[in-house]
C-alpha cells in the first residue's frame, strides 16, 4: 500500500532525536536542541498521519487497511521458537499512535517553555524522545515480545524522567519505586508470555487469535491463567490495585513528564495491552471479571484518596489512577472500544489538567500545595480557563469529551447483568467523587482569596499557553465523534461487541444520571470550599478516623512497607548479610586463608636462608631419588609381603 513510507520511521525518528540530543546535546546551542527535540515527534506524527490515510478512506485503499511489517530477518530463531521483529498497524495501534505522537508533540512544545531554565535541558528532551521511541515500539508491536521491549523501555524512560532531578533524594527514590513496582507487573507479563509460548507456540497476536478462533471451546483453564498474568503486567504499568503505589510518587518528575507519561500515554499501556490481547480475555469470563472488578475497585479507591490530597499534582495522580480504573472496567465488560475511547479523551483532558497544573506551579514559583494557592483566576486567566475546561471534561459534563467516553463505559457496564449493575454503581460513585475532588482543586487553586505568601504569579510564556489551548479544544471536541462511530472504526481490531440489549432510551437515562451525579459533586464542592470553607476542617474533626485513613492513603504504603519492604530488608541484613555473607561466604574465605597461612607458617621453616640447610635438603633429595631408582622395589615389596603372607598362612 503506502510503499514509500515505512512504519519503522515512526519509532526511529524519536530515537534519532534521542541519540542526537543525548550524545551531543550539551555542546549544541539551545535552539538547535529545541529544534531536534520538537522535529522528531512532529515528523513521527507526520508519518503516522500519512500512514493513517487508508484507514480514513483517503488515498488508494485495497482491501483491509491493516498493515503488517516484519523485519526480513528473523529476530529469534531457535528450533521451535521463531519470533520476528514485526510491527502491526491496525485501527487500534493507529488510534494509540495518534495519541502518543500527537499529544506527545504538544507536550514537547510545552516542555520548551517549562524546562527553559533547567540545566538538564538537552538531557530532558533526549529522555522524552527516548520515551516516544519505546512507546511507539510498544504500540506498533506485532507480537508480545516486541511489545515487551517497548514495555520495558517506557519503564526505563519513566524511571529516568521521574528521577530527572536526581539530586533530590525523594525524586531518585520515586524513580526506583516506580521501577521496582513495575518489575512485579513485568514478572506477570513474562510468565504470561512463557505460557503463551508453551501452549500456543507463538507470541504473534494474530496467530494467537487464529488458533483460539479455530477452537471455540477453548475457554478457562490455561487461557485464564495467561490472561491473569497479562493482567498483572497491565496492573503494574497502569497503576491498578494493588500495584498503583508508584504513580503518586512519580509526581516527583517534571510536570510535563507527569502529563505525558504518567497521565496520557505510558500508564495507558496496560489498557492497550488488554485490548490488544482481547481474544484471550474474551475466552476467559473469569479473567474478564477480575479485570472489571480490579478496575472498578481501583476507580473508587483512588478517587476517595484524591478527596483529601493537598498537593495539586497528587490530586491529579490519584485521579489518573481512578480514570485508568474506568478503562479497565470497560475492558472487563468486554467494551474495549469504550475503554480505548476513554483512553483517548482522558489523554486529552488529563494532559491538559497536568499541564495547567504545571502552569500554576510555574507561576507560583514551584509551589504545589493547594492550601497556599487561591484566587489565581485573576492572575492566570488562560490557565484558569483551560483548567475549567479540563475539570468539566473529567467530571463528565455535556458536551465535553469526558462525558461521551465515561458514559459509554457506564452504559456498557450497566448492560452486563446484575454484576454489571454493581460495576455501574461503583462507576457512578466514582463519577461523584471525581467531580467533587476536581472542583475542590478548582476552587482551592483559582477561586477565593490568595492564602499563600506575597508572591506575584505570572502567566506562562506562549510555548506553554499554546499547547494548553490546543488540548483544551481537544478536551471539548474530542468526544464528539461519539462511541458508535469510534467502536465501528475499532471493530476490525478489537472485535464488534455483541448486540446489546439496551435501548437509546436507557442510554439517555443513564447519561442524565451521570451528569446529575457530576452536578451533585460540583454542588458539594461548592458547599465545602466556597460557601462554608470551615466545613472541611470540621468534617475532619468530626470524623477523625475516616479523615486520617484517607489522608494517609489507607496506609497502603505503610502496609507494603511493613509486609514487604521491612521483611526484605531484615532478610537481607540478617540472613543474607550476616549469616550468608559474613558467616558462610566470609567463613569460607577465612577458612581458605587460614589453611594457606597455616601451611605457610609450617613450610616457611624450610626457607631458613641457611645455605647449608638448603644443601642438606638437596643432598637428602638426591639420596632419596637414588634410593627410589636403584632399589628394585617390586621385588623387595613382593618378598616382604610374601613373607608376611607366608606367616599368615601358617
Amino acid at each position: 500500500m503506502n510503499g514509500y513510507l515505512h512504519l519503522w520511521l515512526i519509532p526511529l525518528l524519536p530515537f534519532a532525536g534521542f541519540l542526537l540530543n543525548g550524545i551531543l546535546g550539551r555542546r549544541l546551542p539551545k535552539p538547535l536542541v529545541t529544534a531536534i527535540a520538537l522535529l522528531a515527534p512532529l515528523a513521527a506524527f507526520g508519518v503516522v498521519l500519512s500512514v493513517a490515510q487508508p484507514f480514513f478512506g483517503i488515498g488508494p485503499v485495497s482491501g483491509s487497511p491493516a498493515w503488517v511489517e516484519t523485519c526480513p530477518q528473523a529476530w529469534i530463531n531457535a528450533s521451535a521458537l521463531h519470533i520476528d521483529f514485526s510491527f502491526v498497524l491496525d485501527q487500534l495501534s493507529l488510534v494509540m499512535l495518534l495519541v502518543v505522537t500527537g499529544v506527545g508533540f504538544i507536550i514537547h512544545v510545552y516542555s520548551v517553555g517549562y524546562m527553559h531554565d533547567d540545566e538538564g535541558y538537552a538531557r530532558y528532551f533526549s529522555y522524552l524522545n527516548l520515551f516516544l521511541f519505546f512507546m511507539t515500539v510498544l504500540v506498533l508491536a506485532g507480537n508480545a515480545l516486541v511489545m515487551f521491549v517497548g514495555w520495558e523501555g517506557v519503564g526505563l524512560a519513566s524511571y529516568l524522567l521521574i528521577g530527572f532531578w536526581y539530586q533530590k533524594k525523594s525524586a531518585a527514590d520515586a524513580g526506583k519505586k516506580a521501577f521496582i513496582v513495575n518489575r512485579i507487573g513485568d514478572f506477570g507479563f513474562l510468565i504470561g508470555m512463557f505460557l503463551l509460548l508453551a501452549n500456543f507456540g507463538t507470541l504473534t497476536f494474530s496467530e494467537i487469535a487464529t488458533k483460539l478462533g479455530q477452537d471455540p471451546g477453548w475457554t478457562g483453564g490455561v487461557v485464564t491463567v495467561i490472561a491473569l498474568c497479562l493482567m498483572l503486567g497491565a496492573a503494574g504499568k497502569s497503576a491498578q490495585l494493588p500495584l498503583y503505589i508508584w504513580l503518586p510518587d512519580a509526581m516527583e518528575g517534571p510536570t510535563p513528564v507527569s502529563a505525558l507519561i504518567h497521565a496520557a500515554t505510558m500508564v495507558t499501556a496496560g489498557v492497550y495491552m488488554v485490548a490488544r490481547t482481547h481474544v484471550l480475555f474474551d475466552h476467559s469470563p473469569f479473567a474478564l471479571g477480575v479485570v472489571a472488578i480490579v478496575g472498578a475497585a481501583t476507580a473508587i479507591f483512588a478517587a476517595t484518596i484524591g478527596l483529601v490530597q493537598n498537593d495539586i499534582k497528587r490530586v491529579l495522580a490519584y485521579s489518573t489512577i481512578s480514570q485508568l480504573g474506568y478503562m479497565f472496567l470497560a475492558c472487563g465488560v468486554a467494551a474495549y472500544s469504550a475503554g480505548i475511547f476513554h483512553l483517548v479523551t482522558h489523554s486529552f483532558f488529563k494532559a491538559l489538567l497536568f499541564l495547567a497544573a504545571g502552569s500554576v506551579i510555574h507561576g507560583m514559583g514551584g509551589e504545589q500545595d493547594l492550601r497556599k494557592m487561591g484566587g489565581l483566576w485573576k492572575k492566570l486567566p488562560i490557565t484558569f480557563a483551560v483548567t475549567t475546561v479540563g475539570v468539566l471534561a473529567i467530571a463528565g459534563f455535556f458536551p465535553f469529551a469526558g462525558f461521551f467516553s465515561k458514559d459509554a463505559i457506564l452504559y456498557a457496564a450497566f448492560l452486563q447483568g446484575p454484576g454489571g449493575k454493581l460495576l455501574w454503581f461503583a462507576g457512578v460513585v466514582t463519577a461523584l467523587l471525581t467531580s467533587f475532588y476536581m472542583f475542590r482543586l478548582w476552587y482551592l487553586a483559582f477561586l477565593g482569596k490568595s492564602r499563600g505568601p506575597e508572591i506575584h504569579p505570572h502567566e506562562s510564556p506562549w510555548s506553554m499557553r499554546g499547547p494548553l489551548v490546543i488540548l483544551a479544544l481537544l478536551s471539548i471536541c474530542g468526544g464528539w465523534i461519539g462511541i458508535e462511530r469510534f467502536s465501528s472504526f475499532l471493530a476490525p481490531a478489537v472485535g464488534a461487541k455483541a448486540a446489546e440489549a439496551g435501548s437509546p432510551h436507557l442510554e439517555i437515562v443513564l447519561s442524565i444520571v451521570a451528569v446529575a451525579v457530576a452536578l451533585l459533586g460540583w454542588l458539594l464542592a461548592h458547599l465545602f470550599y466556597r460557601e462554608k470553607s470551615t466545613l472541611p476542617a470540621s468534617m475532619a474533626v468530626a470524623l477523625p478516623g475516616g479523615y486520617k485513613l484517607l489522608a494517609n492513603k489507607y496506609y497502603v504504603d505503610e502496609f507494603y512497607g511493613a509486609a514487604v519492604v521491612k521483611p526484605l530488608f531484615a532478610t537481607s541484613k540478617y540472613l543474607l548479610g550476616w549469616v550468608v555473607d559474613v558467616g558462610l561466604l566470609g567463613g569460607i574465605a577465612w577458612l581458605l586463608g587460614g589453611i594457606a597461612m597455616l601451611s605457610g607458617a609450617i613450610l616457611q621453616r624450610w626457607q631458613s636462608g641457611n645455605l647449608r640447610s638448603y644443601a642438606a635438603w638437596l643432598a637428602a633429595g638426591a639420596a632419596a631419588l637414588l634410593l627410589f631408582l636403584l632399589v628394585p622395589w617390586p621385588t623387595v615389596l613382593a618378598g616382604f609381603l610374601g613373607i608376611h603372607f607366608g606367616m599368615a598362612g601358617h
Partner: protein, 107 residues
C-alpha cells in the same frame, strides 16, 4: 694395559675412591662454615665424579666419559672464576665469609 690395570687395581676400588671423594665433598659442604672451604668441597665433589667418569670410560672403552670429564673441568674452571668473584664481592660487602651469616634470603 687394560689387563694390567684390571689385574693390579680392580674397578671397585676406583669407584670406592670416587664415592669417598664425593662424600667427603658433601660432608665438607654441609659442615664447613667458611665459604672458601665450602667452595673447595664443591670442587672435591666434581673431581670425585670425574674419577668415576674416567674409570667407566676406561672400563667400557668408551671415549665419551673422558670427553665428559673435560666438560666438567671446563665448567668447574668457569664456576671457580664466577664463584671466587662472588666470594670476593661478598667479603667486600659484609667483611665475613661465614656461610651462616650470609642469610639475606631468610624470612
Amino acid at each position: 694395559m687394560n689387563s694390567l690395570f684390571s689385574q693390579e687395581v680392580p674397578l671397585s676400588w676406583y669407584l670406592l675412591l670416587s664415592a669417598a671423594l664425593f662424600s667427603l665433598g658433601v660432608l665438607g659442604f654441609l659442615i664447613k662454615r667458611n665459604l672458601i672451604t665450602v667452595f673447595m668441597s664443591i670442587e672435591l665433589m666434581l673431581n670425585g665424579v670425574n674419577l668415576s667418569f674416567v674409570t667407566f670410560a676406561h672400563q667400557w672403552h668408551a671415549v665419551k666419559g673422558q670427553i665428559f670429564v673435560f666438560f666438567v673441568m671446563m665448567v668447574a674452571a668457569a664456576e671457580a672464576a664466577v664463584g671466587l668473584a662472588i666470594i670476593i664481592a661478598i667479603f667486600r660487602a659484609r667483611a665475613t665469609l661465614a656461610v651462616d651469616r650470609i642469610d639475606l634470603m631468610k624470612l
